[in-house]
Symmetry: C2
Subunit: 116 residues, 2 copies
């Protein structure tokens, strides 16, 4: 593997598996590349919601818009420049606000393999 740079224009978004809402993921680096981590962009439509039990450690960096992340102990709000760390095993509900949201994400190990 070598050093690579990605922009949002490189993202080929796909609907997040098993979800009905407008939640999309676009892996840029993953199990196909032979390294330990997955890297990509996420996109949430207005008021889109996703319920996830994390199969991997997942870090989201909010680039645009706002998200609420609800866990058993309460709700966190995140906007541009904020980082949300969701450890493996946690159960979360992520909701975009009215303007939707764009995130960058990094997971260890590869989320698609772990969820598959």
């Amino acid at each position: 593997m070598k050093v690579r740079k990605f922009g949002i224009g490189d993202a080929a978004f796909e609907r997040s598996p098993g979800q009905d809402d407008e939640v999309f993921t676009a892996n840029l680096v993953d199990e196909r590349h032979g390294g330990p981590i997955t890297v990509g962009y996420g996109r949430y439509g207005a008021d889109a919601r996703i319920d996830v039990t994390l199969a991997v450690d997942d870090v989201m960096v909010v680039l645009e818009g706002r998200l609420s992340v609800t866990i058993s102990s309460g709700t966190l709000e995140a906007g541009p420049g904020d980082i949300v760390h969701m450890p493996k095993g946690e159960k979360v509900t992520i909701r975009a606000h009215a303007q939707g949201a764009v995130t960058a994400y990094v997971t260890y190990p590869h989320w698609r393999e772990a969820e598959g």
Copy 2:
């Protein structure tokens, strides 16, 4: 571990080890927390430069400013919203442009242990 959210205001920046330039790191999640990854913010002063041989897989998300990342095959330019993936073993020179830069980073495994 539980789900946590961080903003740039949570970052306690320290000069990056072994460097003279204005390059600062602020780990928010690392080996002290028992998980597999390190998460933090980076800050680069105007025209600051750092030479690194990567001891870990490192992902930088540019939040503010611009960076040039030079590798043997050329130079990549990254601005706000761009992601740079630097696999373990790669040798890079990172240079901030005149306005400096702020990044979010994720490393696997923990960079401070691997460099220590």
